[in-house]
């Protein structure tokens, strides 16, 4: 059963969708889904909805929500910082505990949402587990990736692409237009300071980490994050799932659902909390 609702946190109204299983197992954790940044959220939404529904069918209560500045929630993307996204995630976790009547939470995040989930889990003593789909491990690389997207868009729009001009605009205006929304200088600076393997210190519960199929060398950041968790004693499962990014513009016209990634995630969840 699905129940949409709005809830308030920090004076801001956020949208959420609760997915209640018809047969919830005793003691299973609830899952809070942490969405990616910017337009990636909108483009990956079909997969995240599918994931929530499948997990609910498996017996896991799930809460999806929109951080401030996203989706149906209040505010604009420029209002968002890493701090607000973490705060909104904690608020969603509190709502999940109350609305879904669970005690423990698994944070499931995609891309930047997975990075937020990592930081949230560091502070959540009742965090049962983490599912990290293609997390942004090093924030400075992600900011570079966004600048490259902007360069490509400028080229496509027949504007002379220039990294120097973009950075100058960024410094002058305090924000940069990416895929129809504004990345603020503050958010970019916060992202650039993110280096997840050096940040994990407290979380010792099971972690599922995945990357889409690509060149082997591209897995290095994920492997370093996995090692950081394992050094803490957190059992970490690293899997390759999905053939291509399902959070990019091609998703507007072509529905691609990474079935193998969904299967691997569900199997991991069932193994840890349903004994199957």
């Amino acid at each position: 059963m699905e129940e949409p609702f709005f809830f308030e946190t920090d004076g801001v109204r956020l949208f959420a969708m609760a997915h209640r299983p018809t047969n919830a197992g005793a003691g299973v954790p609830g899952v809070v889904i942490c969405h990616p940044y910017g337009e990636e959220k909108q483009l990956s939404d079909p997969v995240l909805v599918r994931c929530a529904r499948l997990l609910a069918r498996d017996g896991f209560p799930v809460l999806r929500f929109d951080c401030r500045g996203y989706g149906d929630s209040q505010g604009d993307l420029e209002d968002a910082t890493i701090g607000t996204q973490i705060a909104d995630t904690f608020a969603a976790a509190r709502m999940a505990r109350e609305v879904l009547q669970v005690e423990r939470i698994v944070f499931l995040g995609l891309r930047f949402g997975a990075s937020v989930a990592v930081r949230a889990a560091e502070r959540d003593a009742d965090g049962a587990g983490l599912v990290l789909w293609c997390p942004i491990v090093k924030g400075s690389h992600y900011v570079d990736e966004m600048i490259r997207k902007r360069l490509f868009a400028d080229m496509f729009d027949k504007r002379t692409p220039s990294r120097e001009r973009i950075l100058e605009e960024f410094a002058r205006q305090g924000r940069m237009e990416i895929e129809g929304q504004f990345l603020t200088r503050r958010m970019a600076d916060e992202m650039s300071g993110m280096d997840l393997p050096t940040e994990v210190a407290n979380f010792r519960n099971p972690v599922f980490l995945s990357a889409i199929r690509t060149r082997a060398a591209a897995y290095t950041p994920y492997e370093s994050l996995a090692r950081a968790y394992e050094a803490l004693g957190a059992p970490c499962t690293f899997e390759i799932g999905g053939e291509r990014p399902f959070w990019e513009r091609s998703a507007m016209y072509h529905m691609y659902v990474p079935q193998d990634l969904l299967t691997l995630t569900r199997r991991w969840m069932r193994t840890h909390w349903q004994g199957s």
Binding site: E8, Q42, P46, R50, D157, E179, M252
Partner: protein, 308 residues
């Protein structure tokens, strides 16, 4: 939910709340924007664009609905079947995969439950196409706001319905053939093509569709979905009901195709259908200035027609 949870769960302010619309026993999800001071008996209904949910590309539907509700207009942003939080359904992935019957049910829902007598349908791209088809089927649709509505049925390699291929007009056909011409005489291009997953039969089908675009309109190959759309659009335009067509200045092919078929509208010579060109606008008005202009000028159009 227990009482403590309810205390913190906000029903939604008077302005925005979630709801479900029944569609043949299945549920369609939407967010209703109800203004504090509602003006008249008109409501807007946003139809899904492609595979995108009720939020729209870069939140354009959210921004627009909030803007329009500030004018005093009720607005419902709806997830059509197969999209967002509505019932799951496999979609064909073409411009006509949305079922106008679902939009008609939402129109009936607004009329039955929200004191609405006139509905304005809003859609971007394939959302505009399904809006037109629904408008042709329901007399209470007072206006259609069509953002980047494609007249052709899709790119030459988009999914093909039974009975015919992707339909294109003369402008698109010429552009497609101009793009291919250098490659036809290039052995390297042939090598790349043969190494791709595409077959020679598929290549010939694409060529045939493009060539048919050069034929006179009645002789062009059309799938039934394209025939249905064009007849709906022709009958809607002939009905004398209002329409606002918005195109991006950088969305060359799509706006040119529209102008080719409806030159009177594109030349601002229609008494009921308005045409608006947004400079620097691509197909989904990705640039913030472009989407803001679309919303602002659509808002002005609504104010002129419904708040005057």
């Amino acid at each position: 939910m227990d009482a403590n949870a309810l205390a913190r769960v906000v029903r939604g302010p008077a302005e925005e709340r979630p709801l479900y619309v029944d569609h043949h026993g299945e549920k369609l999800f939407g967010i209703l924007h109800e203004p504090e001071k509602r003006h008249d008996d008109v409501a807007l209904l946003f139809s899904s664009s492609g595979l995108q949910n009720r939020v729209g590309p870069h939140r354009m539907y959210v921004q627009a609905a909030r803007r329009f509700s500030q004018l005093g207009l009720t607005a419902l942003r709806l997830d059509l079947p197969g999209v967002g939080d509505s019932v799951e359904r496999e979609l064909a992935g073409d411009f006509d995969h949305h079922d106008p019957a679902s939009v008609v049910d939402a129109i009936e829902f607004l009329i039955a439950n929200h004191d609405v007598r006139r509905v304005v349908l809003v859609g971007l791209c394939s959302g505009a196409r399904v809006a037109i088809k629904a408008a042709a089927r329901h007399p209470r649709v007072d206006a259609v706001i069509a953002w980047s509505m494609p007249i052709i049925s899709g790119a030459v390699d988009m999914p093909v319905a039974e009975g015919g291929g992707a339909y294109m007009g003369r402008t698109m056909a010429r552009a497609q053939l101009r793009e291919w011409a250098p490659k036809l005489a290039n052995p390297a291009a042939w090598y790349r093509y043969l190494r791709s997953e595409k077959t020679l039969t598929e290549g010939w089908d694409m060529m045939r569709r493009a060539l048919s675009g050069l034929l006179p309109e009645p002789l062009r190959q059309k799938s039934s979905r394209q025939t249905d759309f064009l007849s709906s659009l022709d009958s809607y335009v002939a009905s004398g009901r209002k329409m606002l067509c918005v195109y991006g200045g950088d969305d060359d092919m799509v706006r040119t195709e529209f102008g080719e078929r409806y030159p009177e509208i594109a030349a601002h010579r229609s008494s009921t259908c308005d045409y608006l060109l947004v400079p620097n606008g691509d197909h989904t008005y990705t640039r913030v200035a472009a989407s803001e202009e679309v919303i602002a000028r659509t808002s002005d159009w609504l104010a002129r027609h419904y708040l005057g």
